[in-house]
């Protein structure tokens, strides 16, 4: 079995990878090469909080009480393309609407056609709560008469990284010799260690180490963005991320209780993104930004790492040259295609920019949805069908035609249903505590329990 693993990346990536491997596979010998400190960045992965904490083997209560992570309930989209009154809508990985023999989104569609410009989030408890700065802990899907209320995390890499220290058996800051990317990397001399070490597998999360020969040009529909980010002190407590469409791209904001990150993503038309030819090459696996540098309109760099680690755990090798690596490459490649499709759908829905290439399969799926609300699922889609319909409606995609069943349903009943649901959600949100109270409660309960 592959036991001796070398991990190369910045402090956060190295520690994150080591923590997941340590938590899920026994008997590993992990060596970390920290190329750089944890970057200044706030991450808001789409990955559900349960999966995130299970991978790390740390309870979310501990992460929250130590100020390492905060909870995220919804994503706010703002764009002139959104036709709801506020030009803003909120998407949560949560249920929406109410049980009815006609799917709720079709009632929404009918009611919108009458001139009612309430945003779709007004029919989703989680999104409505997040929009008003209210909070509730996640609720499982099978509770009757209650919309599912899910959560993900957001965190400053600086804050989470120290909690993940110690997963490596040894860490160094420099490789002195022996690491030759493109050949094999089995023997390395590391700074401060007297003897070269031999490794079974090398995991690289440092983009500079990806050889040019392993790059290939991405299809034209995959957008390339230039990224510029800035940080200021945080001015509020929320459970959101925010994406605003601007003239040539997007402004994405995420804040923790300490600071606010503002990223400007400018579409670079004509420039092509790069994809790796293989993610696992001989005894080296390229992870995260070393594999692909992506625009994250929804989700984050950590989603990449999580997905790749998931696949690596599934295909953990006997030796680095195991034929199982082909299965890994296929699975990770498929995931990236679907993830990039999700970014495309967010981008093209919110932005009128002519920089988007619309001659692609995912755009055909979007057009199909825009006709009569049918979302054609594909194998490996990042979001399930209901979540996808939810997202597309929050992004302002309003189908032009109604399903015959919905079209024949009395309009006044659809209006009543939507109105009463909006009222019920609004009343329920009013009873929820502010997000700040949640953090006070976690801190208090942690200090009481010692």
């Amino acid at each position: 079995m592959t036991n001796k693993v070398l991990i190369i990346g910045d402090q956060f990536s190295t520690n994150f990878i080591a923590t997941v491997l340590r938590n899920r596979i026994t008997g590993l010998d992990l060596t970390g090469v920290i190329c750089a400190p944890a970057p200044q960045r706030i991450e808001a992965p789409l990955t559900n909080i349960d999966k995130f904490t299970a991978l790390l083997g740390i309870q979310w209560q501990r992460l929250v009480s130590q100020g390492a992570v905060e909870l995220c309930l919804a994503h706010r989209f703002s764009s002139a393309k959104l036709t709801c009154a506020s030009a803003t809508d909120y998407f949560a990985l949560a249920d929406y609407g109410a049980a009815h023999f006609i799917p709720f989104e079709q009632h929404y569609q009918k009611v919108r056609a009458t001139g009612d410009d309430s945003p779709f989030s007004s029919y989703c408890l989680a999104a409505s709560a997040a929009a008003l700065g209210k909070f509730q802990l996640p609720i499982a899907a099978d509770r009757q008469n209650q919309q599912r209320f899910d959560a993900s995390v957001k965190f400053d890499l600086d804050a989470l990284s120290p909690l993940l220290n110690g997963a490596c058996d040894r860490t160094v800051s420099l490789i002195e010799s022996g690491l030759e990317i493109g050949a094999t990397a089995r023997h390395c001399s590391l700074q401060g260690l007297a003897h070269p070490l031999e490794f079974d597998l090398v995991l690289i999360a440092e983009p500079a180490l990806m050889p040019d020969a392993n790059h290939t040009e991405a299809p034209a529909w995959i957008p390339k963005f230039n990224r510029d980010s800035g940080y200021t002190a945080s001015d509020s407590i929320d459970a959101l991320t925010t994406l605003t469409a601007v003239e040539h791209g997007f402004v994405k904001q995420v804040q923790t209780r300490k600071q606010l990150q503002r990223e400007v993503l400018t579409l670079a038309p004509g420039e092509r993104a790069q994809l790796p030819k293989s993610f696992w090459q001989r005894d080296i696996v390229f992870l995260g930004a070393a594999a692909i540098e992506l625009p994250h309109l929804l989700g984050s760099y950590t989603d990449q790492l999580i997905q790749e680690l998931d696949a690596l755990l599934k295909y953990w090798p006997y030796t680095a040259f195991d034929p199982i690596s082909e299965r890994y490459n296929q699975q990770v490649r498929d995931w990236y295609v679907r993830y990039l499709e999700l970014q495309y759908l967010v981008g093209v829905s919110l932005s009128e920019s002519p920089g988007w290439t619309r001659n692609c399969e995912v755009h055909e799926r979007l057009q199909l949805f825009n006709q009569q609300g049918y979302w054609e699922t594909k194998e490996g889609d990042i979001l399930g069908k209901n979540d996808m319909i939810h997202l597309l409606l929050c992004l302002g995609n309003l189908p032009q035609q109604q399903h015959p069943i919905a079209a024949g349903y009395p309009l006044e009943l659809s209006i009543d249903l939507c109105k009463s649901l909006r009222m019920a959600i609004s009343q329920q949100v009013a009873t929820l505590p502010p997000t700040a109270d949640f953090y006070r409660w976690v801190e208090r309960s942690t200090s009481i329990s010692g």
């Binding site: 079995m1 592959t2 899920r24 596979i25 026994t26 008997g27 295909y315 953990w316 090798p317 006997y318 195991d322 034929p323 199982i324 299965r327 055909e364 057009q367 199909l368 006709q371 009569q372 049918y374 054609e376 699922t377 594909k378 194998e379 490996g380 035609q401 399903h403 015959p404 069943i405 079209a407 024949g408």
Partner: protein, 509 residues
């Protein structure tokens, strides 16, 4: 008999039978307020009546219709079904089961198939031992699964002709118009290319916004009018003939369909309350019709007074089952042999997909999406069926030798390679047959796993102990169920059927 203009758009279903009446019933239930639904069916034309054996999805269909299970079981002579028993598929004397359920309940650090393969290296164990449903099948027990406790499901063996009649009554009670007539020809709208009217032999005509072709193998509209090409898969699935006969019912019917391999195909046995359905499927390239008669005549209780029913078919599908405003549902859309009881499921799927995509007028984008979805499903089922044949070890029999060595679809080869490498099972979300089904056939057909997940290397004896515990638990859970026959309506309550004169004279595959 020109139909008067109607306010509602019209759906005309050409053909009755299982496909026609399932479509009519579902549309009446869901679309009845918004469409006028007509079934044109000729009492002069017999039906093939696909599928007496079903898979659990039929329960969703009945539930959608609001059908009472007891009423349905009684009306269709149904028995309960927990899966399929395969005899002689690996080699002579081999037996395995494909249950409607999962295996094991414990958490392992890797997937169950990997854990099972690892444990098997220490202590050989049959997969059938670690499934509650398989143990119930073996012991002829049946109980409805308890939600959140049991991880299995169930279906029915039913009399397809009675099911069609049951759904016909249901549909007529919900406003479906029934016309007993022959369709002589159709009128095509020159602008759209859609079928605008169906002309009847008696001189009448029926206007149509939508036409559903449920005319079975004849494919009167999808083939006869639109010439939608049929893609043959005979090179993968060479069985192209079936011979069917009924026999006396069993007093202790098993809760499974039996599929026993023979030298040029396989033989089914389907227990109903009022009879047992029997049939022999074979490849005409490797055997003649005498084989089927001979195999059937050996069965206990067979009624040789009736001539056996002969069926001829070709495995394959139309990649365009929706053309213009015509959608083919059932045998007119494609055919896959009934080895995994998928015929009724494919009808149901066509109905569901159409219900999702239907609009007042046909839409070319919806049509393309429908055709893609149906093709995906057909291909997944095709691959799964081929797998049963491909992994045989019946050396020296030309039919089986051919199947073991023939080229197979790349999509199936990838699945086999992934399993052989490290017990990795298909994990798609769209399509029939999830990982337990694939594992049942991979393991049952003796497919060997080369690598054990390295993380299990130090834990194989612990895994073997865990599997033994599972085996015990599954066996106990099955024995706690009542015998299957006790769950059926009492014989006195069953409709009396004269075997020599049952509906349409013959059983159905």
């Amino acid at each position: 008999m020109e139909q008067p203009g109607r306010n509602r758009p019209s759906i005309v279903i050409a053909g009755g039978g299982t496909a026609g009446w399932m479509t009519a019933a579902a549309f009446a239930r869901i679309l009845g307020q918004h469409f006028h639904i007509t079934v044109i069916e000729s009492s002069q034309i017999g039906t093939v009546g696909v599928g007496e054996a079903t898979i659990p999805h039929i329960r969703d269909f009945n539930e959608m219709l609001g059908v009472d299970e007891a009423e349905f079981v009684s009306a269709t002579g149904a028995t309960y079904k927990l899966g399929i028993r395969f005899e002689g598929w690996l080699n002579h004397g081999s037996v395995y089961h494909h249950p409607f359920g999962s295996y094991g309940l414990s958490q392992f650090p890797v997937n169950f198939a990997g854990a099972f393969a690892a444990a098997n290296r220490i202590s050989p164990l049959a997969l059938d031992d670690v499934g509650v449903a398989t143990q119930a099948m073996i012991n002829r027990r049946f109980a409805r699964p308890v939600p959140h406790l049991h991880d299995y499901s169930y279906a029915y063996h039913l009399d397809a002709t009675r099911y069609a009649a049951f759904l016909k009554r249901y549909s007529l009670a919900r406003g479906v118009e029934h016309i007993d007539a022959h369709i002589s020809h159709v009128q095509i709208d020159s602008a759209s290319g859609d079928i605008s009217k169906l002309n009847l032999r008696d001189g009448g005509s029926i206007p149509a916004d939508w036409v559903i072709d449920c005319t079975g193998f004849r494919a009167l509209l999808i083939e006869g009018v639109y010439r939608s090409p049929f893609e043959s898969w005979k090179h993968y699935l060479p069985c192209d003939r079936a011979v069917a006969m009924g026999s006396a019912p069993s007093s202790r019917p098993p809760p499974y369909t039996q599929a026993a391999a023979h030298k040029a195909g396989w033989q089914w046995q389907i227990p109903l309350q009022h009879r047992t359905g029997n049939g022999v499927v074979y490849a005409s390239e490797f055997a003649d019709g005498e084989l089927g008669i001979e195999l059937l005549s050996r069965l206990e209780g067979i009624n040789t007074a009736n001539p056996p029913r002969q069926l001829s078919f070709t495995a394959g599908l139309r990649r365009e089952t929706w053309v213009g405003n015509c959608v083919a549902i059932g045998l007119s859309s494609g055919f896959l042999e009934p080895l995994e009881s998928t015929s009724i499921y494919l009808i149901q799927l066509g109905i569901y997909k159409l219900l999702e995509l239907i609009s007042t007028k046909p839409n070319p984008h919806h049509r393309a999406a429908y055709n893609r979805a149906m093709t995906t499903e057909y291909e997944i089922i095709r691959d799964f069926l081929i797998l049963h044949y491909r992994l045989n070890q019946r050396s020296g029999e030309p039919f089986w030798d051919y199947l073991r060595n023939m080229p197979i679809p790349a999509s199936l080869q990838a699945k086999i390679s992934a399993y052989e490498l490290r017990a990795e099972l298909p994990s798609y979300e769209i399509g029939l047959f999830k990982w337990p089904s694939w594992l049942a056939v991979f393991a049952g057909q003796g497919c060997q796993v080369r690598q054990i997940d390295p993380r299990l290397c130090g834990q194989t004896s612990q895994l073997a102990t865990e599997m033994e515990r599972l085996k015990h638990d599954c066996h106990q859970a099955a024995l706690a169920m009542p015998p299957h026959h006790e769950m059926l309506p009492l014989p006195a309550a069953r409709p009396i059927t004269n075997l020599a004169n049952h509906e349409h004279g013959q059983p159905r595959p």
